[in-house]
Symmetry: C2
């Protein structure tokens, strides 16, 4: 399955249909590219993508978005109409625009596979490419990995809180845009969400789609019983929404229709979408059980997040599945991550900044993860050519601008989902739980990388040049 | 200028290129449509889009996203490959899928123009259409208006805090997806942001684009002075980033290059991107002024939001412009709004829900705004056919599924931006300011609408049917 991409509407159609527009970048990438071009700065650069610090509400990250990045890199080129627009800005020289016409990404990417659990300062991916290529892609690479990693890291918490009960993604109407809805549904699925209401995401990624009914259906029909009956006739085995007028009365209407001897309706669940879900779920279960309708499940929705789901289940609310929308779709408690994309090497020389508050580990790196029994015991961030104890997390996924075909199975959506499931299960319990982990998961920097970092810093003059 | 839309990559190309996919909807819209179809429920429906409550951190909304909605409605249809996918779900009847093939939006839309200041419960738009048409579009209409209204409402605060200084949108790398970056840049522009770093948004909407340079440029060049010089040669009048190694040393490098007699470089501003911006801005200004470089401006960035900008300016920090990224791009303190799309009338009968916590005002509505001097004095939400004191905010913008051409000028991006500017200036000062407004802006419901609401509620039996 491929990810959806932008194209432009008829009036603005690009001459290369069906690809992510090369103009989805920050202007300064292009002005820097022009400066690189005129100074012939096209040596090999290494950039590293990582999250500086975890938000207080996140004990771990679930890395997602790599497939979107690889798709982008494979197809990146400037169309004539895009070059025309750049020319119109009167910032760029003709030789540079000519060179842009032939621009392709020809580099390497090393990355952790999607669905990998990660922590602060651990590279999600590293790009090794001629400096202008590695520079231009920064905006889009960050945007796409940020989107999916933010949402997957939130959704993983919701799935953990649901303790094996079904979670369905209802986010599409209030995510920040369509890209967030579609790729967000994918990220949720990797994190363990079972299905999405988003039909486009279902189609693009083969994710199961799911849905119930809206209040408007009941209101338009006018009579709740008649609405339930007609809907269940059209969609047998459906979920009926019972809270339009009076929740428990709605449940009684369902029972009446499901119990009558002539032509009973078939319903898989009732959905509670407002009010005190804990109380209503208990009462609904009692009514259904008393009517012998033990097979009808209870589905809850209405501003849910991981904390409310945990509270409901701790209180014993007999809810079998949860529809989670806005809170998961915008990651409301941590809507962004301190994701950065930093130059760590140029022309075979390690690079860093002197700022002590925002350290950048120089050079290519690898992350090694040690297990203790079946549990993750700690990670080491090491130099790229070091061998440490544990399992290395980064692997080469792209060479000379093309995906490595050998990894196709490992990179499938189902493989990513299985990986996420396994890795979340291997987290120390106090890291997997919702409350801030105390102590945090141990991530150290290898001695060799520490020494290298110090030596790179020492080579930079505090007066702003290299010594 | 048209908004960007999704298409699918080559492997999944739709047979109607360049339009928003009809499958961007929730599954339940389609199952409800099938039920409406089989029951011949295609009477005229009125749906209203509004925000139930403002977040605590928002005193007003800046309505945006209408143009994206109108584009979507004009081009909405199901392509063969989309119908094939729906058939594969084994949920839909052949007669229904046949009917979907001919589906078009043929209804009316009444809306406030983009850039209008609005408050809780005031309709952003109303859709008047055959029930299935008005139902199907819910997901996409909500998603697109939500995206732009969330971001515009946040950006308006940033612009107010900047007190006339330049604000530039730097959000692209950390918005939640590309749609959020591109349409978000548009929403920021309407709210008064001056330019965007996002080249694609610049091209699509004609927004000014702007950019400086990244640390990686300095680091790759190795020597800061050499990097400044070469960059300023390539992009004369540029902004130089001075904090890669030592901020004030960086400023001295700029001064040295700008002051030398042989071939001085031309720089419009220096950019401070880390550290104590207040202190560094004062020191930088002092150094520049002492060197006679009063014309070089100071541009600040680094995790800025409206509160930090207000604090810096209240402290007298001599900063002339601000680059604002993530905080504005994800609206970090209020990343979603309680936006809802509710049936308010069907077959000429007003509709509502009985829930007291989530009231829905029935029928078509109008909002009247009274002015006191040059200041907004209060709004009245009235029935659609009522005449009240003040200026009516909603107008018909689409009829029989087509935009009203007469409104084209009024709906231009520049008109929306001018409107936002004027309306924000007309807000009572305590509503315009960042702190929660006390008292809140007065919005009342007209007596006629209150009576109508009561009569519609009275017609609904508490047992869930109409009396």
């Amino acid at each position: 399955m491929r990810q959806p991409v932008y194209s432009l509407q008829s009036g603005m159609a690009s001459d290369i249909p069906g690809r992510l527009p090369a103009l989805f970048t920050d202007l300064y990438q292009l002005t820097m590219l022009q400066a690189y071009f005129h100074q012939r700065l096209h040596g090999r650069a290494v950039f590293s993508l990582f999250v500086r610090r975890l938000p207080a509400q996140r004990n771990y990250l679930l890395s997602c978005g790599l497939e979107a990045v690889l798709d982008y890199l494979e197809q990146l080129r400037f169309a004539n109409d895009e070059l025309e627009y750049l020319r119109s800005l009167e910032l760029f020289s003709e030789p540079f625009l000519d060179w842009l016409r032939g621009f392709r990404f020809t580099g390497e990417v090393h990355a952790v596979p999607e669905g990998t659990v990660l922590f602060a300062n651990e590279p999600i991916l590293e790009v090794i490419a001629p400096l202008p290529e590695a520079q231009l892609i920064e905006t889009c690479v960050m945007n796409q990995v940020h989107l999916q990693t933010v949402i997957a890291s939130k959704a993983a918490r919701v799935v953990v809180a649901a303790q094996g009960r079904t979670v369905i993604d209802f986010g599409a109407r209030r995510t920040l845009g369509m890209d967030a809805a579609v790729q967000g549904a994918r990220a949720c699925y990797i994190a363990g969400v079972e299905a999405t209401s988003n039909v486009l995401a279902g189609r693009l990624y083969g994710i199961p789609v799911s849905g119930t009914m809206a209040h408007s259906y009941i209101q338009a029909t006018g009579d709740e019983r008649a609405a339930f009956e007609s809907f269940a006739r059209t969609i047998p085995g459906t979920v009926l929404l019972v809270d339009t007028y009076d929740t428990l009365q709605g449940v009684k209407h369902v029972i009446e229709l499901a119990q009558r001897t002539r032509d009973p309706i078939k319903v898989s669940a009732v959905r509670l979408d407002s009010g005190d879900l804990e109380h209503l779920a208990h009462e609904t279960r009692r009514l259904l059980d008393a009517a012998g309708l033990r097979g009808i499940r209870i589905f809850g929705s209405s501003d849910l997040d991981e904390h409310e789901i945990e509270r409901l289940l701790n209180a014993g609310a007999p809810i079998d599945g949860f529809g989670v929308g806005t809170g998961m779709g915008v990651s409301s408690d941590a809507p962004s991550l301190e994701l950065v994309y930093k130059l760590t090497e140029y022309d075979a020389v390690g690079r860093t900044k002197l700022s002590t508050s925002k350290p950048v580990l120089p050079g290519r790196k690898q992350v090694y993860r040690r297990m203790r029994g079946g549990t993750m015991g700690g990670d080491v961030i090491a130099r790229g050519d070091e061998e440490c104890e544990g399992r290395p997390l980064l692997q080469r996924v792209m060479q000379r601008g093309r995906r490595l075909a050998a990894l196709r199975d490992e990179q499938s959506l189902e493989a990513a989902r299985a990986r996420a499931h396994a890795e979340i299960a291997q987290l120390p319990r106090h890291v997997r739980q919702l409350a801030p982990a105390q102590p945090v998961y141990p991530v150290t920097v290898s001695t060799a990388l520490q020494r290298y970092h110090a030596s790179v810093r020492a080579r930079i003059s505090p007066r702003g040049g290299r010594q």
